[in-house]
Symmetry: C2
Subunit: 254 residues, 2 copies
Amino acid sequence: MKVFVLPSGFAGGDFVELGGEDFHYLCRVRRLKSGDSFPAVDGEGNGYHLTLEEAGRKSCRLRVQKKGSPRRGEEAITLYQCLPKGQKFDLIVRQAVELGVARVVPVRSRYSVPKIADEEGRLRRWHRIARQAAQQSGACGLPEIPAGISLADVPDDFGKHPGGRKLGIFFHQNPLAISSLHGYLSSIPEEIALVIGPEGGLSDEEAGFLARAGFVPAYLGHRVLRAETAPVFAAAAVRIILLERERWSLADGT
Amino acid sequence: MKVFVLPSGFAGGDFVELGGEDFHYLCRVRRLKSGDSFPAVDGEGNGYHLTLEEAGRKSCRLRVQKKGSPRRGEEAITLYQCLPKGQKFDLIVRQAVELGVARVVPVRSRYSVPKIADEEGRLRRWHRIARQAAQQSGACGLPEIPAGISLADVPDDFGKHPGGRKLGIFFHQNPLAISSLHGYLSSIPEEIALVIGPEGGLSDEEAGFLARAGFVPAYLGHRVLRAETAPVFAAAAVRIILLERERWSLADGT
């Protein structure tokens, strides 16, 4: 069984009572029986060992044993995703979480959708998608998706976010600098921000603003990627370069 | 305007007459006028310069000037994708083509869907998706999607494919060897095959068979990826490592 993600209401304790979707998933889909044990994480990334105590008709009761600290060796990636059209954000959330993004922040930018219609409903939907994706992929902790912010607030938001050595990267269709992801990531940052534009990309003013705020420009090749493919490419690129960090070094003269 | 992909029926010549979807796209969506010029490629990757001569009500006539040879500096990637359930192959085709995969081969494997229902219809659909994705992303040439083959035929199929230095990689959920994509790709292969399992992955027998046939195992981290996310991760990983090939070298001792 893959890692189960405890509901956001879980606040610690030796037992937890689960109903609704969670009950359905554990007792109907996974068909767990009393005494069965499995691993779980909470929204903070803490690990647990759960044991099914008792299954009723509509809910079940589980014993909770806390394990050690959050899984190590995974850098925290925040995806600042400018709002694309239609339902594309759904696919972005799902694939980004599968690729290990810990936080997806919806961003309003010059060429993005100006505002999220029914933001509360959409956020609930994205939380549900993120939770399913985390559960299925064995992600560490429940991915965070806060309410949308404007691009002008991205540097502050990333700056306020707790964490160690930070690296903010924005992706641009033109190779703005003689730079490479390998170069940026050679320092082994602990907190990484990826800023991805909407269908129309980031404007030159926005790229300039991010650069002045300390974000570095990256380039994913000359192909035009769809709004929903660019974040997957960016997250996958960062992930493979860090996963194989011990196997490469920067070439001479870079 | 992005690069236009000439229909597969185009067999050279100084003029081409286009109707249907192509006419609609050029004259209605892009609203080209007589005299407008734009770049195009054919299924072989040859570049052209097209000029709209005359637009009728249902078709248009274009002048064709051939440009130089196919775009250089892009390795040819073939994705051997074991058939996942449902409509997932649609998304895989679209994203793989955006990421520069030149050939997507549907593969039947131990845990895959056993056969493609209405294969002709599905192939037509995938060709349409591939063509749209190629057009939108400025891909070089029309991606090829042949009829499905069985996993046992993958090494032969890749061996027969024309091209230079070849590298076949299969992706496995367990780290089978002390290997890395950086290590494999440091030789700068010209033809690359990526073999990706279905939902249930490749069986141990299949992995053994591919290894004996000269394919090398790669590992994308401990996360469980969905069948439709694994090929995107693999293609993106290969692409970024090759794109930045001049910027890294193998670490000592690897």
